[in-house]
Subunit: 459 residues, 2 copies
């Protein structure tokens, strides 16, 4: 659509983090054609539909850089349990029974929750990813979808990934992208990791491009024992090469990945909680993109990422909620606030993670991580018309001294007024425009009632 | 009013944490006269106004056990700064200029924000507390107000406290109570601490009662250097007794307080981050009430309280937001979630702080801390009609497996549907009934614009 947003406070998230009071954004079709002060632009553009953003902040929408979207179905299914029991007794058994229709339904709920809370783009790893791509597409959100690959499902996984790329990469007006997603070092053996790295390169050559690359999305260093579990899983391999690689000694998960020659700037590495100094240097030297998931890391007791150290090394860090089963929310406002709080507290330094840095992580850093920053992540002339409009009128949102502080420490997902993606309103005046919210919720409620007739299984 | 809430899921927070599906609560005037299953009670009570709570949870409202309500005016005024600079360059100078009218206005905003987010009661310490009491009273909330006492304002503080108790303790239908509030060990010298302890006892004898006691509300062990600062502040005292007390060696802040003979079960001790083992034993032995303020402790980089240890010692722990200037919110849903997350993560144990325990902290434990548990903190026959009704219909609130998990990890302050205090609707269907919200917000916006003409002082 062709329109003009005026009177708002624009947080551009450009390289200077410029804030424009009395700001104006001019959109033609799916592109931002101008950004500036309304007083300067109002006589330059005529005949555009005008949206008054008085008492509103306009930012780039948030990008949720690590999640498993359809796990909304399992929100609150099992909490406060030891990790092994949580996984083996609760999560894995129920995951095995999920159907493609379930994945579609769960993702539909995830995109509704995401859009209403100001998220334009999900980097999501799961299975039956055709269905996740479908649900994200239909809602008009952006998504990077990846089929999660395990050694024990090798043959199928590679062809599923190949088909996913062929069908979906850079599809739906460029809103959907695909990544190659090895689950982790302890579930994917070294030979298969190399194979998936090679597969990604081949797919990138054929289907990717400079501005729409195919990333490698992987869980890394989430818990402290990943190399031990890796050895336990693969040291009885029939391949002597695998055995050799598995049994060598490594100074951290990234040292291991580096020795496999799979580390590069196309990697989106979720978690990065337990890192050696060597790991951190490798992440920096290879320009690996890190996704911080503080809520999940705390809830599952994985630990606290050495985030200030990563930032000191100029590593690109973005934010994710992780799956709604280990959070139990897809709320990026919450993740933003907890990121800003946590590292101050555990490092006893109140100047760490200042508000503007955390907003960068949720916007432009995330776009860079996904190789999408030529189009999204900031409000700049020539970029795609992705805009998040946040209402400043609620009691908890006043007074306003500093916009970045307000977003990080005071504003909430319920303050999201409107969300535009690719020039189209997905949420307008707090109403989801592209998906039937009530119908989706009814279906989820029915799904749980049918699947778990004795509902309160965890009480 | 005489009414009946039916069809809801009741989290009673009684001694068994009973959950009643298909629950019913019967209210007469300001009292809960019955609680049970609707199927059992519906034929017992007739002619009551009925409120259908289908797809809603009913809990005791949250009690914010440590805050400085009127500091809403300074929400986001100064963030991400070193503590000393924050206090001396930003907070103290502006606090000195606040007038009684400002305190009234800030508290009005605080009670609106609190009520809309499900908080019925504030334990608040500041100055011009007549004005805080007035604003809380007018809105129909409960409050424990205390005038913050410092050595350098000795004479005035004691008489202000005395007058506050006389005028407000157990006033406004018992909704307002008063506490005696020494600021901290490093701002109140040992002689004055003893004096304030004595004052509390005398006031309690004259104006307090078993069910409406006058508490001692104090900041304790918020930072690690409180005893050092205490010595710096008071070692040049003219009194040889004060000098002797100041210069002795202590094994923690509570060891110090104990040696002053001021520790007892009437103390509400905010923070308790930096505790020695001796401190923890003393807190348990003297039945001191602890208020955990995780958001403020993280944001100001005070550190992480040894909460699991306190709970292992069966110490009564409640929750607070602290002042909205060091948070920057009065949102107890947020504090609840962060409490549940933080201690799992830093202690690498996902079973710590299970959901139900954290809901207890925000309700019945807090009522106990304030000596108010004979009237509030749980939904039980004979207690005051304080009810929080939470909507379960939003996308982020489905599916529902376990009610306690949902409150702690998924629900948000924006899900608050209605809040009843003392049998009166303060919030009904998301609308504040007792204070003019728009007018208050306008006044706050104008206040900031007048006081800080160059608004974006921190950007």
């Amino acid at each position: 659509m062709n329109c003009m947003f005026f009177n708002g406070i624009i947080l551009t998230m450009n390289s200077k983090n410029s804030v424009i009071q009395d700001g104006c954004i001019v959109v033609e079709d799916d592109i931002i054609i101008d950004v500036g002060k309304y007083s300067e632009l109002k006589n330059k553009y005529h005949g555009y539909e005008k949206f008054d953003c008085k008492n509103k902040i306009i930012t780039p929408p948030f990008i949720n850089c690590h999640t498993h979207a359809s796990m909304t179905l399992l929100r609150g299914y099992a909490d406060d349990l030891p990790l092994f029991e949580w996984l083996t007794k609760w999560i894995f058994p129920v995951e095995k029974t999920l159907t493609p229709d379930d994945i579609y339904l769960g993702t539909k709920l995830a995109v509704i929750e995401s859009a209403l809370s100001g998220v334009s783009c999900l980097n999501t790893m799961y299975y039956f990813m055709d269905m996740e791509a479908e649900a994200i597409s239909q809602a008009g959100l952006r998504g990077v979808v990846g089929h999660v690959c395990f050694s024990n499902n090798k043959k199928q996984d590679s062809s599923l990934t190949f088909n996913l790329v062929k069908k979906w990469h850079n599809s739906n007006n460029g809103l959907i992208r695909v990544s190659v997603d090895p689950h982790s070092v302890y579930t994917v053996d070294p030979a298969y990791l190399k194979e998936l790295h090679q597969l990604r390169n081949e797919l990138n050559d054929k289907y990717g491009s400079q501005n729409a690359p195919i990333r490698w999305h992987i869980h890394t260093a989430e818990t402290s024992d990943e190399l031990i579990k890796m050895r336990e899983s693969f040291n009885s391999s029939e391949s002597s090469e695998v055995k050799r690689l598995v049994c060598e000694s490594y100074d951290g998960v990234f040292d291991y990945l580096n020795r496999l020659n799979v580390l590069d700037d196309q990697i989106v590495a979720a978690h990065c909680v337990h890192l050696t100094d060597k790991d951190i240097n490798l992440i920096r030297d290879k320009s690996v993109n890190v996704v911080h998931n503080p809520v999940s890391n705390l809830k599952l007791a994985s630990g606290v990422s050495p985030l200030p150290k990563l930032l000191n090394h100029n590593i690109n860090v973005s934010l994710g909620t992780d799956g709604p089963c280990s959070n139990n929310s897809l709320d990026m406002f919450e993740t933003i606030k907890i990121t800003a709080l946590l590292h101050k507290g555990v490092n006893l330094n109140p100047t760490l993670l200042p508000a503007v840095e955390v907003v960068k992580m949720a916007t432009i850093n995330a776009a860079k991580a996904l190789g999408w920053d030529s189009e999204i992540g900031s409000i700049e002339k020539g970029k795609k018309a992705d805009l998040l409009i946040i209402d400043l009128s609620r009691p908890h949102a006043v007074p306003l001294y500093n916009e970045f502080s307000q977003i990080v420490y005071a504003l909430k997902s319920s303050d999201v007024d409107s969300l535009m993606i690719n020039g189209r309103f997905i949420v307008e005046n707090k109403v989801m425009k592209t998906v039937n919210v009530e119908e989706t919720i009814s279906k989820v409620v029915k799904w749980v009632a049918d699947k778990f007739p004795d509902r309160s299984i965890n009480s």
